[in-house]
Structures are given as C-alpha cells and as structure tokens.
Symmetry: C2
Subunit: 118 residues, 2 copies
C-alpha cells in the first residue's frame, strides 16, 4: 500500500525524529478548517471582493461593476464567502448589501502581504 514502509533503511536512525515530528502533525480538525480557510482566500475574485469591502458594505451589483464581472459570478463567490463566515449580508429593498464579518481576515492578509513583500 505504501511503498515507503519497507524502504528507508535509516528508519532506526531517524526514529526519534520521526516520532517527535508525528506529535507536531496538525490534528485533523484544525487541518480541515485551516485548509478550508486558505482555499477560500486562494482565489483572485474572492480576494478582490474582500479588498473592496474593507471600509464599507456594497451591494452585489456594485461589486460586479467594480470587478467587471457578472452578478451571477459575484453572487456565487459571495455565497462561498458567506458560508465561510467571512462576510455577512443585509437586505434593503431589492438590494443585498455585503460587508466583512470581522477584521481577522485582514490581519491574515496583512501578514501574508508582509511575507510576500520580501
């Protein structure tokens, strides 16, 4: 099943190292949620949407205009962002206004930008 098990003669040599590293392995629950979050942030359209919502709420149509994309495409991505609890919405008449749920995401972006800036 796993080609590696019978090989790697140095197994005994690195054994302690491996055991210790195993204890550092991220647990399944954290892994799922953190990876999920990064997957959501790893899309250009969603990043753009979040960036224009920094200071104020916007309706779907506004966002579509700013990004020069269809309302449908934007709506799909807004749904993804809403399910991930990164944004929230409120309806006024026919319009639905979206805004950021908290500033955690921007701290993450800021940190990522710092990393990238090097």
């Amino acid at each position: 099943m796993n080609e590696n098990v019978p090989n790697c003669k140095n197994n005994y040599l690195h054994k302690d190292k491996i055991e210790h590293a195993k204890s550092l392995l991220i647990n399944d629950e954290d892994l799922f949620f953190v990876t999920q979050l990064f997957k959501i942030l790893g899309d250009e359209t969603r990043t753009k949407i979040l960036s224009v919502l920094i200071e104020d709420e916007l309706c779907v149509c506004d966002i579509a205009k700013i990004l020069d994309m269809t309302k449908s495409a934007i709506s799909h991505q807004l749904k993804t962002l809403r399910i991930a609890k990164l944004i929230k919405s409120r309806k006024i008449g026919k319009e639905v206004f979206y805004s950021l749920k908290d500033d955690h995401v921007f701290k993450i972006y800021k940190m990522a930008t710092e990393h990238v800036a090097e």
Copy 2:
C-alpha cells in the same frame, strides 16, 4: 460583454461609494502573489508537511512515513513549497533534508487558527 453595465439603476446613487471602493481594490501584483501564497497553503498535504517541519528538518522519506504517503507525492509537494520559497533543502549523501525558510508562514497559520477557533 458585461451584463451589469446597462442595469443597476442605482448607479448614480452608489457612484461615490463605487469610486471609493475601486481605489481600495487590491492591485494586480499583490493580488497575484497573495493569492498564490494562499493557494499553496490551501492544501492538506502541504499544510501537514509544513506542520511537521516546525521544529526540525526532515528528509523526504521521513515525511512520507509520517504522512503515510508515497515519496513521489511528497516530493511533488515539496517542490511546490520550495518554488514558493516556503521551505529550503540541503542534501547529505543520498538524503535531502527539508526545513522551513522562515517563520512568517507560522505566523499566518497562527492567525488563521485563531480565526477558525471562534
């Protein structure tokens, strides 16, 4: 081309808002690099690899054993992480040891975990 342009009667109403939001739109270069980084972090295998490299370098075979995956799969992902400059490698004999390049990534993870923890 864009279904939205002729619609959205409230254009005049939200005009200032839209213009201001446009100025907040993340620029193309930052967008590319930040999204690229998050794409790389948005994979369970890569996240696991980074997590086991927190404290010490490991060879490909060690990582493969810890994650119970083939050396080939691990090697492919290590290459991705190396190209993204998240890890570095050094060769000793037949073995190639991989380690984190800096601790930026873990600050990002830490922040993401905090976000997720809510």
